[in-house]
Symmetry: D2
Subunit: 351 residues, 4 copies
């Protein structure tokens, strides 16, 4: 009779994300080296030209994001990647992308900070990603994968969301996902990309397009910002993503995302063996944050623990989601510290 | 008998802040031009050398913040100023300052964003200032003046706080305060500045100091981050500042900061004439945010309205402060829009 | 019987040079805008990608030449173009190309200098081109066309010479040739390019190559420089190019190059009508300079006049070529001044 | 009765040049680190602020020369220093200084080139210094010391010449002088500096000054260049400097400059012991070159040998100076090679 075999390839996170970007039709990459995401540009520099795309190692992080701006203006699926300090340098450029309503994908392999920090996994760029590290009232969609496969899938999705809303999308991963090898199932290569009537592609036979974020005539910037606000509302309505685990009979809820949630899941499996009814709520979109959805789970829980690889950042959003005056516990380890499942288990029992 | 006359000088916000920095003992300024804060460097370029300080117009915003880093390392009271896009470019440098525990003062004359936006007053950099626009688990103290005098006073204070905690301090104002002229009462010029034993001043006769944010030995970055965390807790305990107006009999609370709060105050005066018992809670430190203090006022209010010159950013902190499931209303106008007192009054009546 | 028709296309100098580079197999261009050579990159930005090449508008002149360095290291036919101030910024990079023995073509559309000067034709970069404006004992081959067709031909040749000797080649033209339209006969597109065993193309299955100009081990730099010296001697023997006009019965010799020689030729035609036996010696390679060849013509002349669009630069080489103590007259007009044929004729009669 | 004691201080070349600059009234230095001149900025960074001057380590060589431009425009005695590759990067800036007629002093501690080369002494930047490595018809005065004392004296003189003619002056030394320690006699500190009516110092009560090198109105750039030409003629008349040694009865003339001439002098002393009547002509100003003066010595010599630490650059000027068809021999060693007196003696005997 035959069995349908699904082909999977062993890749690390950087390679998976790069292959995903190419499958999604990305034709332009500009970046600047920084550990622990260097395998991404290294792999991309080889693969992208093979697919007819352009790879540029820019002179600086600031250059790289502005080159992405240029490619996006021209209607090309474009991206950059970096790690924490490099992403900080790109904040002006990201604000410009958002202000000009340009689609682009930015991968941040979060390392330990602040400053140079170290190259270990961390989630300390949550605030930066979800609250516009750059200036102005803009939002970037933030996708937080917890496995190499999900990194692949969300990178692919990121290009679609970016184009759908003409907005930059951040994929927030970390050094652990970047360098771990896991089997990955590929998506089909995008054949047809969305038509971008707004792009600056030369205006023979049509009226010229204009893309800008400078609006000096009184009132125009405000109008523009209200338009952005309505777009953000649409995104909040349509693009929220999250997962739950063991939540059917849960009375102790852990909220965690990305790599950290994966460790938490192991802790929960252990806790369950001991009869503790712990469940996991994992936001996949950090913005738009699943306030409404989480809110319901919070209502059902007697105890709530937020676990992050930082000093407490997503906890702000959990508090915002919480309707009643429930005490929300926090367990986290900042830059460089990655807890074991047992450490988290101990924390569960303590509460 | 004689009357004690207090001398006041008519200055715009930029000039006031510059004079305050000099009175506070600032001896180093590096910046890069951007409207609407250009009068600050213009004035400083003249005044600072007269006081034996060094003024540098750097080649870029990125250069400027790194020059401030260099001066701070050497133990000098140092500062920079800019406006929104310029501040975005400085995010990596600010993260480095925080990671290296270096005191520095950064003035942001918030303009309309995102991207180039316009040069009108705005409060759309609230998130960026309070949630580390840069990477990593760091915090900057954020001071939000609502008048030229307060801008003077808070700039002076900023240098003291920066030195006390070895941490960057942001003064978040806007183009309105920057360019408005108001009479200012001067503070005495600081004679004696705190001794900085940690500074890199040459190590003749003592052990060398070391200042860095790169910690590659496993565990060291985490230890460093916990040390930062404890410092941030101390700041949260000691440095919270806020003001309230008409709150004795209030049952309708408005939360607003900076320029916007000043407009709100006028609206409240009108509302009071009509018998509506509106009060104003004005955070002066945006970080540390007065959660506990605001929480008590929120409890007493039947209705809560947050007013900001943006699409809703501080409202996150108000929600975090709110213990019960109180509905919190928002009124704001994004980049470029400044409401009149009457508009806000209408909003009050609507609720 | 039939007539063989040679197809010629009307192009300006910039377009001709760009088409020639493409025909010669150039696959990489990096540059930065400066008048009067902007039509070159503008045209190239369209044409080069059509031919599978890469066009980059770099962030600065310094970036551009270093990108060319990178492409040349990889074995690709690479080039840049600019005008005087831009070429000055590239001097370090050109010295690096020469020191590393890398082929590359640099087009200088000489404008009036020094400093910003103006955008009129000039020959004031003769010294810079022929005496290594950069540091160290290096030489670049310098080709000086006097027509659009010759600009086409010499650009094509430049790539061959560059590869043959692994050395940068400068094409020194000016704004007049850059913007004049003349019919151009095309060369065949190069099918087969020279194999570059020395290039850094990945070293699978062979020993790694190394390309560098830093030689810190005592004696090694000197050995390297002697090797360069022998190469320059070979170039001096084989690559000298020049033209003469009306020299059979000449007793008054004018030495002139490029655009200026073309004006001189008209003056000579006029002078001949009046019975003055003037001839023209036109160096086409400014380095290697045709010392020996010119020397013979100088011997035959009773009077010698050097005419340049500058204050007297090539005249140094004419003096070096002159064996006897012959007085050599000079006529020139610096940056911005272009003499008419009649002005030069007057100068001829004066001597 | 007492003896007048002249105080001399043991200094290396870098320190001597720095002290000389300060004595000459230099108040502004901007530079960027490169071996073998790093002791210069290191020493200057300490000494200059003590004298009320400003020391800036710029972000790049390009920045440094443009900062010097800024200081010179303001009428301040300003300088930079570097070594070969760094000087190449400054060529655009030097052309701008010359075009704008701005006084400035540039010290080049010539290292072995081209490219990165090595850090040994070399004279391979002769062409670059004397033939405007930058674009356009400009000249810089070039002073070539052969001892630490002369480096001190010529640096002092450089500032005077720069101001007298409003022109950049290059001091061309090398790593040997830079790092050799010799006793130095100090000059008196300049009390009164020349008044600079042309400087941009604020125009209260007078008509504004204008300093620029961009002249787009037809004819104006040419007029400006003729003005420069007349200035260069004045310099050629007044500022030629050279020394001769053992030339009274000489019939074998060696022409050599800087460090190399010092080695040659030793060779000559040896040759003289053997009865060979060798003399030395040492140009001190490489531009203006002592053509006329050298010419007379060349006439008297039966044999001429040019000795340089390069592959033959000054020999061009010697050939230009030579009136008759005398064969001029050359002995040189390129980047990294420094001959011993005996090697040169052997060369003398060979001819």
């Amino acid at each position: 009779m035959g069995t349908k075999r699904i082909k999977r390839v062993l890749l690390n996170g950087c390679e998976a994300a790069a292959d995903s970007a190419i499958a999604a039709g990305c034709k332009f990459y500009a970046g600047y080296p920084i550990t622990p995401q260097n395998r991404f540009p290294e792999y991309m520099s080889r693969r992208l030209p093979e697919e007819g795309g352009i790879f540029i190692q820019a002179e600086s992080e600031v250059s790289a994001i502005n080159m992405v701006f240029g490619a996006a203006v021209a209607g090309v699926r474009a991206m950059t990647s970096s790690s924490s300090p490099g992403i900080s340098l790109k904040q002006e450029g990201i604000s410009y992308l958002a202000g000009c309503e340009l689609p682009a994908v930015i991968i941040n392999m979060n390392r330990g900070g602040p400053g140079l920090g170290d190259v270990t996994p961390s989630q300390s760029d949550y605030f930066q990603s979800t609250r516009g590290g750059g200036h102005g009232d803009y939002r970037t969609v933030v996708l937080a994968p917890w496995s190499v496969q999900e990194l692949y899938d969300l990178t692919y999705l990121a290009f679609d969301i970016a184009d759908r809303y003409r907005n930059p999308v951040v994929v927030l991963a970390d050094g652990m996902i970047a360098l771990t090898y896991e089997p990955v199932r590929f998506k089909k290569k995008r054949k047809k990309l969305p038509l971008k009537k707004w792009a600056l592609t030369g205006c023979k036979g049509r009226k010229p397009n204009s893309i800008k974020s400078l609006f000096l005539t009184p009132g125009v910037l405000e109008t523009h910002n209200w338009k952005l606000a309505r777009k953000y509302e649409r995104i909040e309505k349509r693009e929220v993503r999250f997962s739950t685990y063991f939540c059917d009979d849960m009375d102790f809820l852990i909220v965690s995302f990305g790599t950290c949630a994966r460790i938490v899941k192991e802790s929960i499996e252990e806790a369950r063996k001991e009869g503790i009814k712990v469940g996991l709520f994992r936001p996949i979109t950090l913005w738009p944050f699943p306030y409404r959805e989480l809110s319901e789970y919070l209502e059902r829980a007697k105890k709530v623990l937020v676990v992050e690889l930082n000093l407490g950042q997503m906890i702000d959003d959990v508090k915002i989601a919480a309707k009643s005056d429930k005490r929300i516990f926090f367990y986290g380890r900042p830059g460089g510290g990655v807890p074991t499942p047992l450490e988290i288990l101990k924390e569960i029992k303590k509460r």
